[in-house]
Each structure stands twice: as C-alpha cells, then as structure tokens.
Subunit: 203 residues, 8 copies
C-alpha cells in the first residue's frame, strides 16, 4: 500500500448504517477491517455482516482479520499512566496488533508512583519503539524519554478537568519535553501513534 | 506584621531613581531591604545609599539585612530542573533567606536525567517544605510530589520556546499534577513561592 | 504512607461497577475510603458493599472511616465566596476531615459584600492554613491573603459564564494575586487543596 | 459635538512630525488639544508650535486648553491599586480634566492592604462616577463595586507577568465581577474610561 | 441599599426547590423579587408561592413587584442587533424595569441592514443611557457609540458559531471599539448592563 | 502563470543582500518586480541594481514595472478605517496596481464617524470588488458588506492594544460578519487581499 | 436586492414554530425560501405550509424556488476533503444553487490521497470560482490555491478532535495559506462561502 | 549513552562565556561538540578554544567532531517548504549529521508549487525516515505523509505573521494531519526531530 497503512474506518461522525455498509463492502472484498471510535451499537450492526468481528469495548475498536501474522522486527511497548488513559492506550494496542506488530503493555505507571515504572523498565527498554499515553500533566513521556534509547511517541489524553483544557496541558507538556527523543501525536490519537510505531517497527 | 511578610521592592517597572529612593528611606528607618528583579544598574544606585547591600546577579536581587537570623523550624528545599531555571530558583532562595529561613538547594535534577534526582532524595524529603522550579514541561513538580510527604510549591518558569508559550506549558502541567500535595504560583514567581514556603516553615 | 496521603477513589470517568469494586476491595483490606466526584447512583452501589459509607451530596463524596481521629496541629479554615462555590468547598472539607484535620467553614463571604468577611476575620486568622474557594473573578483569595499571616491556598471554581471560560478567570486572578502568601491548585480541585493543607497542618 | 467628545490625538504609531502637524493645525483653529501616549520627544516637538502645552510624563499626555472650566455635575473618582497602575490612572485623570470634569484621585489602595481603601471610602462614595484602575488580578473593581451605589468603570492594566498575559487576567476578573454595577473598558484604556465617565458626569 | 441595587436571584445552578424557597422567603418579607436565568419549571414552582409573579419566557426572568414606580430621570434605550440576541436584550429590559426605570427597546437594527438603525436614531439619541446588545461581530456597539453623546454599555452575546467562540468575538470587538464612550459587561450579561444603566439613569 | 499571480519578493526575514540579489536577477530576466515589507535600507540596495524602482514608504513596497497597463474589467475599491490602517491598505493598493488593476481608495471612513462612509458610498458600490482594511474592532467590513452587492474581502489589521491581541479582535469580527458576502485574509495581509481581488477583477 | 443576496432563514436557535411561520409568510409573498441548519423536524413543519419544499438532510437545508434559473457566468466548484466535511460542502452547494449558480462538486479529494485531486484538476480549474471545504489541518485549500488561477474561498470545518479545537486548526491553516489567492470564511460557514462565490460568479 | 543521544549545548539563554567554558571542558575530555542556537559571537569565542569547530550560520550550530562516521542504516530526508524554514531545516541537518546519519535535503518544495515536490518524490520515498519542516499552514507534512510509507516527523516553524501566532498554525495543522504516519515535535525544534529520526535510523 502506498503509505504502508491500510484503509481504516473512523466511526466517529458516521451513522451505524454507514459503518455497517463500509464493513460489509470490505469484508466481501476480503479486506481486513479495523474500525475505531465504534460504539457497542455499531458493533452489533457490524457483527450482522461480519460475524467474526471482535469488539474491544475499552478501545472502542472493531477488528476482523483473515489471518493473524507478525511482521515487525521487535515489539511495540504501550506505556500508560492511569486507568483513565486506558481507552486511548487500548486503541493504540488494537491498531498496532491489527498492523501485525507484537505489542507489550505497561499500564498504570504514572509518575505519581514512579517506582512502578522502574519495576517495568527492562520491558520498556527492550521495545523497538515506545508509545507513552498520559493525560493530566503528561510528565510520563519525558520521564520515559529520559530513560530509554528508543524512539518515544507521546499520546496526550484528554483526561482531566479545569486547567487541563481537554488535553491541552498534556499536549503542551509532551511538545516541550526535556527529553530529546520524543515526538507527539494529537490528543487521544492512539490510532495515529500506533500507525507511526508500526512504520518504525517494520523498518 | 499583618501578613507575616515585610515590605519588598519589586524593581521591575520602576526607575533606578525610584528604587534608590525607596531603599534609602527604608535604610534610614532601619528596615531590612529586599529588592527583586533589580538590574546591575539599579544595584549600583542602591549601593550608593546602602553600601553593604549585596547583589545576587543570577537572582537579580538586592539584599540588606541588619542582622542574620534563622527563625523557621526546618529548612526549605529549593529544587530546580535545568540551568535556565536558576534565576527563578535563586530568587526563591534569596527571598527565603531574607525571611530568615534555612535553605537547601538541589539544582540540575530535571526528569530527563532522573537518577540525579534520586541521588538527592533524602535531602529533599527531610525539608519542611519544598519549592520545585521547572520550565519546559514542568514534570519535575509531579515527580517530586509523588516522592515526598511534605507540601510542594511548584514554580513554573518561562524557559522554553515554541509551544511553551512563555511558561504556559509548565504552568498547566503543574496545575494538573497527578501528585496531590502540589500547589502552584505564577510563572517565574520565585518570590511568591518563597513567601508561602516561609509562612509554612514558621508554623 | 510514602506521600503522606492515602489512596483515594476519583470516581469521575469510572463506571459505577468499577468504583464499587475498588471500594469493596479497600473495605475488605481495612483501608479507609474516600471517593470524590461520586454520583448518587455510585453511592447506592458502594453502600451495598460498605453499609456505613456516608454520602455528602453537595460535595459528591463518599466517606468511610474505621475510626475518627484528629491529628493536625491546628484547624484548616475553608472560606468560600458564593452559594455556587459550595460543592468545591465541601469537597475540600470532606477531604480535610478524612485526612484527620479539624476544619472550620466560613461560607458566603464574597467580596461583593465584604463586611461579611470582616465579621469572620478572627476565625480565619486563627487557622493554621486557609483554603479560599471562589469563582467568577476569584478576588476573595487576594483579599484574604492580604489580611492574614498564614499560608493561603486558592481554589478557583468553574462558576460563572461568558468571559469566565469555565474558571479561567478565577484561576488567572489567583495566580496573579497581589498578596504574596497565596498559592493555587487546579480549577474545582477542592480535593488537592485539602491534601496540601493537611500536609501543612501536620508539620 | 456629535458624540459629546472632542477629537483627540492618539500619538501611538504616529511620527513626531505627524503629531506636531496635527497639534499645530488644531491650535491654529482654536481647538483644545489632548494627545495621549505621547513620548517626551513628541512633547518637545509640540511645544515648538504650542508653547503653553503641558506634559504629564507619567500619563504620557500633552494638554492645551484655551480656558479651564468645570461643567460636570459632581466629581469623578479615579481609584487605583498600585504604583505601576499610575500611568493608566493618570491618563484617565488628564482626559477627565480635559473634558471639564472635577477629578479626585485615590491611589495605592490595592486589596492586598484593604484598610487603606476603607480609609478613603467616603471620598469614593461621594463621587458621581468611579473609575477603578487595577492590574494583576484586578480585584479592586469588585471590592469597590460592592461598596458603592454609583456606576463603576473598571480599567484593567497590563501590569504583571507570567499568567497575567499582558492584562488578560485583570480584564477577565473585571468582566466577571461579582459586583453588579461594574462595566469595563479595554486594557490600559484610561482614556476611554474617562470619556464614558465624563458623559455620565454631565448627564 | 448599600450598592443601590437590591438582592436578585440568579437561578442558574440552583435547584427549583432552592429558588422556590428563596422567592417564598423574600415574598413573606415584602421584598420585590427578580429571578434571572429561570426555566419554565422554576417559574411553575415560584408561582405556587408567589401567585402574581410574572414570567418572561424569552428573558427567562420571573418578576414580582409590590408596586410599579418610575424613579430614573430619563429612559434607558435597549438596542439589539438580531433575533437571537433577544433573550439577552429582554433580560436587560426586565432588570431595568424591575429597578424602576423607563425602558425603550430598539430591536433588529444590526449593521448588516444599517438603514433600520438610522430610522430609529432619534429614539436612541434621546435616551439617558444606551444598552447595545449584539452577538457575532458586535459591530453595533461601535456604530451606535459613534452616533450618540450618551454613555453606551455594550453587551456581547454568545450568538454565533465557529470562530465566534461563544461570544469572544463580540466581546473583543466591543472592548476595542473605536468609539470612545463605550464600556462593556460580560458576555450575555443583560442583567449587569441594566444594573449599571440604572445607576446612571438615577444620578 | 499557473496561479494567475506572478512571483513576488516577501522581504520580511530576508537580508538586504538577499533581496537585492533576487531583484537583480528578476530585473535582468525582464520580470516585473514587487517587494513587500521592504525597509528603506532594502530600497536603497535595490535602487542600486534597479534604478527606476519606486518605493512607497507607507506601504513598505518596492515596485518596478516595464510598462503600465490595466487589464481588469472594473476597479478595486480599497476602503480603510483609520490612519493607522494605511500601511496595510497601501500594501493592497500597490499590489493591486502591480497586478494591472485600476484602484480607487476610500480612506478614513471608520464606523466611529459613519457619515464619512456614506459620503463615499457610490464610489464603493461601483467597484467590481471591495477590500476593507480595518483594525480595532473591524466593524467596517460588516457595515460595508451590508451596503453593497459586490464581493468584500476583509483585511483585519494588527492596530490596537490590550484586548486587541495584535489583530485577533478584528480578525474574529470579520470572520463572524453578519453580512454574508464577506471573506477574510490573514491579519495585515493587504497583499493577499489584493491578489484575490485581482483574480476576481479579471474574471 | 441591496446586497445582491436574498433573505435567508438561519434555523439554528429558532423554534420549529418560528421557522414555519417565517416560511409561510415568505411563501405567501411569493418569495423563494432557503432555510439553513434545519432539522428534519423543522422540515416536517415547513412542508405543511410549503408542500413542495425540498430537504437535503446532509446539508440540513430546506429549499423552495418558484422557478429554476441559472444566472451566473460560469460554474462554482465545491471541492471537499473527507466524508465528514460533506454537510458543510452540501450547505454551500444548496446555497449556491438557490442563488441561481451552476455548481460542480469534487468530493473526497483530501491531501492524504492527493492523486484523487489531480484526477479532477481540469474540472476545478475550469470553474469561475472555487470553494474548498476541509477540516482537520485544512491543507486542501493551499494545495488547490497553488494549482489554479481562480479565486479560492476556503471553508474550514469543525471536523476533528483534540488539538483541532473545533475547527481552529483548519481556520488558522487557511488564513496562513502559502497560496496567495485564498480567502476564508467562518468555520462551517458553507452558506457564507456560497454567497460570496455567487457574487463573484455573477460579476 | 543511556538515551542513545550525547550531551548537546543549547546556547540560547546562556552567556558567551558559559558556552565557551562548556565547549572547552568537552573538548578537553575528548567529547564531540554540538551547540545549537549559537550566535556568531558565541562561535568566535568557541573557536578560541576549539579551533576546528565549524559554524553553520543559517542553522546557528557549532560542530566539532573527532572523526566523521556514518552509523545509521539508511538516510534521513529533511524536506522543507520555503526559504524562511531553512534555519530550522539546517538545525535538523546538522544535528542528524552530528549523530552520524547520512542526510539528504529536499528544500523549497512547499505545497503552493506542488510540482516541485513531485519531482523529488523518489528521493523522499527512499529515505528511512523523513523530517518535514514547514511554517505558515504546515500543509507539507500531510502531503508528504500521504505519499510515503516511512515515518514522518513534522517540525512546525514560527514563520509567518498575524493568525500564524508564532507557529501555532503550523503546529495545529501537523497535529491534525489527515495522514496517519505523522508525529510532531515542538515549533522550530529541528534538533529534537533529528534526535528522534536518528534513533529510528539506527534501529
Ligand atoms: N481514531 C482515529 N483517529 C484519527 N484518525 C483515524 C482514526 N481512525 C481512523 N482514522 C483515519 O481516518 C481514516 C478514515 O477516515 P474517513 O474516510 O473519514 O472514514 C482512516 O484511513 C485513518 O487514516
Ligand atoms: N489612549 C487612547 N486609547 C484609545 N483610544 C484613544 C486614545 N487616545 C485617543 N483615542 C481615540 O483615538 C482617536 C484618534 O485616532 P486617530 O485618528 O488614529 O488619531 C481619538 O479621537 C480617540 O477617539
Ligand atoms: N443574569 C445574571 N448575570 C450575572 N449576575 C447575576 C445575574 N442575575 C443575578 N446576578 C447576581 O447574582 C447575585 C445572586 O447570586 P447568588 O447569591 O449566587 O444567587 C445577585 O445579587 C446578582 O448580583
Ligand atoms: N448557515 C448560515 N451561516 C451563517 N449565516 C447564515 C446562515 N444561514 C443564514 N444566514 C444569515 O442569517 C440571516 C438570517 O438571520 P436571522 O435574522 O437571525 O434569521 C440570513 O439573511 C443570512 O444572512
Ligand atoms: Mg530517549
Ligand atoms: Mg506529595
Ligand atoms: Mg497573606
Ligand atoms: Mg456597586
Ligand atoms: Mg459616543
Ligand atoms: Mg454584501
Ligand atoms: Mg491560486
Ligand atoms: Mg505516510
């Protein structure tokens, strides 16, 4: 594929009917299916036409693959700070797996309890590329970036309230990271982070 | 004094002449003098009327005290991330000392090299109150806040460029800290942080 | 505890089921329970597993403590401006009490009727640390900060409309306070203010 | 005059030469002259053609009136918070006097030392209309608005740093004032506040 | 009354029950009642305890006055741009009348059809004070301010979409008005504009 | 030319030497020259290599054309509000003339003195396309847009201070214009407005 | 008509009843009807009084014309990036047709798959004026602007999430377009773009 | 090295003396030297102690390496839009070369003249990782991202004026890129982009 990335259904802003039709068309053409931001209702509709489609409720993803395979050279670590960041982390995980990557998750290692992060450091360091998902002040991306020699992709999440401004706080933090190997994708964009991580993992 | 804090000269936006006159008047009345945001030129003028005034060029402070004394119950730790944060950190140090507090500095412990922070952890943990000065993404306040059981006052600095927006990034980070014992003062306000730390240290 | 602060359930963004399970687990381990941002529905679920849990509807908190005790050295004053600021003020009160502090409330003393504040000044001045909760223009934090010699923690609230921008107005006001002993926590963060006040009160 | 307000020279962004020419033309036509935001250099040039023009260095105004007269019904009180607000306060004073109003100034009554404000309360209350000039958190407008039964016009100033955002903090504060008789003009617009106060004073 | 303005019920964020209780208490004490931002449901509840209370659905106000009287010296003109600005304009009208002012309305005179404004110019010019309510680009305040010699109070409304940012566009416009006799209140604050207009009208 | 618009030198951010070299190269190739945002110093350098180049100091443009011609079908009206908007208006004028359009200027017709605008209305209405240049609140674009049946291109200028935010106020106003035939270019972009106006004038 | 544009019903913020009444009045007077931002429910009500009114659900428009005619000189191309931009694109199409213009649509040519755009380039280049509708980063307007010699009107859409800020991203992109023939209307304002395009098409 | 990246001197905000001392110390220890954001004056000082240091005036970098070597697996393409983006692009180039990567530059391929980009497409596609540097609307990152199957790192630049807001426009564009393989670093952060690209190139 031209961009190294297959077509994906971004379900947000589409009707259940629209998503069902796209999924059906793809299924009939033998194309693997990934739908992101999909509600349970959308899943019910897709299951009608793609009975083996699998729903990850936390990630809000629907996945259907004709066969499982692993084509990346190492594994992608998806690291996240708190429970509320999980939907975004899981979107990254599902996307990365859909793109045939091995994925390791390191959850609940936010900087307020930094010893938990250190316990998992080897697992993170051995990844080929690391996705760090964090809301609130997004400090985790800088801390991880300062501990590893692998590319780190930060995903700020919209978790928080008040002066968080729907993820702006974490976004600015990550863009201003004092660790130099960190790049950033849009707020809540677990999908996009996984796309880039996958391109990197397959180099 | 009503608010527990003496009068202080905020030199920014005042003419050299104005600062010199205020300093002279205070000196003649036997009042201790602290001027913040003072240029070398202002210091030269003040030294004319208060020969024993001491200038801290990094902190941009002028201090004159009739006698040194220590009245707080413990010490205030001033922790800072990078070299560029030093002017603000030093403003906090000078202010805290002027207010008769014992001060310990822990500099250059930014989260991009977090092992340096851990090397100094005992010194920080034993303080009565901790001032954390950090620019860029301001992650240091959260990391410290998660490691100590003392009140932490964050001072975001205007260090950085681009999406830093003159310290907004660090300010939002600190306000959204995932560590619960952290409060925040204005960007670059080392003075204000030291005022509150001093009130706390004397409780 | 490492940070001087126990684990707390932040119910916002968690399902009723998730909160119930966490509460149950804590209860079984004999850990005191504080849940913030809890809906009445969540309370009903928690009550099933922790029958003696107490709900403060205004504060949106659920509290269960094995025994009441007071361990701080003085009392924390929670001062608030208007009726609409009460949920945030009460969150601070519940948190501070949960952390074993004596709390005194001084409500409805907004600066538009400043005589009411002066009537309560002694009560405020005798506190060990003061939490000021105010929305709209947040002027109360500066006014109180100028009248006392104790640390003041400002909590801007999201009360208001139009150019209030969900609390931004009060937040900026407090960060720019002309009174020097004032620090600030996130908009609506009564919980965080109480955490820091408690750390201070126990010094 | 159609709008009740004479033509005024806004010197900012005009060359010295341009201001001199406009002043000369007005002088020759017998029109009273007010120039705002005028540098000392501009004043020197204007004095060449209008020898009796008077410069207020703090206010940055040049005034020339053919005869002094008072036409308003009461006096305008110009109340300001701190020393740094004086240029804006003085611009208001000069403009109000130029427009033939009696003016009373109440300076240095910021809320961090609120007793000074109370000492002057009668003078403020007896004005026909009150201009409140304040930077930083701008709380003074709300406090005054809650103490008087006269229209209050708030002028936020750009005094401050960091999260002040060049006066945004004070502007938002005043727009969100909890006191209901307060309206607001642009940041640093002492001129505009005096124009409206003058229209009110002459009703 | 100290501030020249009676107590008013701001119903937004209060429960129906709370408003009903306050209204009942005021009614029993013989105090006139104005509630703003009141829903029809709240009105139904208030009518139970204050049968003669009158609801203005557009303005979202409930009014009960023991007797009608007019105490201002002239009339207040409430000028508005488009149909969608009417709720705010009517809030101003109801508040001004509640405060015993004569009010004249000049509606639907937005600058996109400026001839309609000119048809009503005399009515506007003869007012003692003018409230201009406008959303979108808020140009009407400047245009009116340039045509009259009376104080103009601008009320930006949150009408619009996209780059309107909930009234920010109109707010900034009015604050930057090129007409000098214009001051501004908060977005959608018809109440506040009427309070100040009433203070002015009674001078 | 592919886009209907020739190459133009945007001098801002280029060194004098760089601009001189580009101008020389174009001159030698027989290409007409327009440089925008050019300082007097740059002009002096360009004149060395293109002796007949003409400088418009207000517009900050350098122009050299091999021959004058007019190719548009009607004329472009450039309408501006105040003296300070003239640099941007003149940049539009110079650009439009460089692109072989007939241009008519209608200056100093800001809405604070709207009768001046009405005096020139026929001249504006007879244009084929109208550029409206205005700073502060930018109301002029809406007023003109409501009076004509021709496309109006608004150019917000960065004129103003305080809540003007370097032209943001005028930009938002114009984007929210209640007159429907108005589109907008970037703040201070007289050049871009003239480019589009020229494309329209030549249809 | 004075502005070259007929009266149009902007249904947003109007009740179904209000829109029905306006439509009925217009129908009875023999005026053509265009209502924008109309819900299906509003359409049902309008159909009662204007049985031949046509609803475009995607565009959210109701149209009734007494007779179809084409009066512009060429056609308007409406170019859009992705599926989610279609409602805005269709609002532009319906408006342009209502104003008697021939319209050609070029949909789904976003820059992430730029070959699709090149396939349609002739169709775009032959238009008299081009409307480009794009959300997310809004790059399409610049790309098209660099490929054609016709006026391009950009319509940023509010499509996206996170750092999109409801269309701000696309708006700023289009305002900063490196292609010089591009002007911009408000976010989601397909209506306004079509109004200006129609004025241009009829020159 | 722990993070795979050597120590680098960020000269901005350091005195000439400070940079000279650090460079000297590194030189004496045999460490390779890279200083970014260095003025010519700083270079003169460094040359005194490191005579073979090389200055890139456009990039504002000083480089001294003991020996040249290439250790990455492919080459890094640095693609940039316009002349004004060159300083940032060159900072990326110098950094990437300092980190022992082969670098290919593809300059002046902004989307306003998109044929130039297509001429260089093979060179870009064959890179192992691509850095796209663009200011104004930053559209180039999306266009490139849609044409290649390699990771793309966008660097928004602060080039532009008005609604560019010092690079915010390009930053938001890149964060909202419709092409999924794109991540972003801070505005003007050519250094950071090269750091991540180097980590990727060495995988
Ligand atoms: N969660 C997501 N966030 C951002 N982009 C997405 C997401 N999921 C899918 N996409 C992108 O959206 C494209 C489909 O958009 P559309 O044609 O509007 O359905 C896909 O090819 C992906 O590039
Ligand atoms: N300090 C000021 N702030 C705002 N507007 C002012 C000020 N001084 C004068 N003006 C206004 O600017 C107008 C003159 O503008 P100009 O024609 O650009 O010189 C005067 O008539 C006043 O309405
Ligand atoms: N629509 C309104 N907008 C702003 N302030 C209002 C409004 N209505 C009432 N108020 C103010 O709110 C006060 C009552 O606030 P509260 O005590 O929270 O009910 C009144 O005394 C008024 O000063
Ligand atoms: N979708 C739209 N976006 C912006 N303005 C619109 C839209 N539809 C109609 N309008 C304008 O709104 C006017 C009607 O506004 P109103 O009098 O409030 O109904 C019309 O004459 C149009 O100029
Ligand atoms: Mg790293
Ligand atoms: Mg802690
Ligand atoms: Mg105090
Ligand atoms: Mg009052
Ligand atoms: Mg006027
Ligand atoms: Mg028009
Ligand atoms: Mg073009
Ligand atoms: Mg790609």
């Amino acid at each position: 594929h031209r961009t190294g990335l297959p077509e994906v259904i971004y379900a947000s802003g589409k009707t259940t009917e629209q998503v069902r039709l796209i999924a059906e068309r793809m299924f009939n053409k033998g194309i693997d299916i990934l739908a992101t931001r999909a509600t349970p209702e959308i899943y019910e509709a897709v299951k009608m036409v793609v009975p083996d489609a699998v729903y990850n409720q936390l990630a809000r993803t629907i996945v259907y693959k004709h066969k499982e395979e692993i084509s990346g050279k190492g594994y992608i670590a998806v690291v996240s700070a708190g429970t509320s960041d999980l939907p975004v982390a899981e979107e990254a995980v599902e996307t990365a797996r859909f793109l045939n990557n091995e994925v390791v998750t390191v959850y609940d290692v936010g900087v307020a309890g930094i010893h938990r992060l250190f316990n998992k450091l080897d697992l993170i360091r051995n990844a080929r590329v690391i996705i760090v998902v964090a809301g609130m002040e997004g400090a985790l991306a800088s801390v991880v970036g300062g501990l590893v020699d692998k590319p780190v992709i930060g995903v700020p999440t919209s978790i928080g309230y008040g002066a968080n401004f729907q993820g702006l706080s974490a976004l600015l933090s990550m863009l201003n990271s004092c660790a130099s190997g960190v790049s950033v994708v849009n707020i809540d964009n677990g999908f996009g982070a996984a796309c880039q991580a996958s391109l990197i993992n397959k180099l």
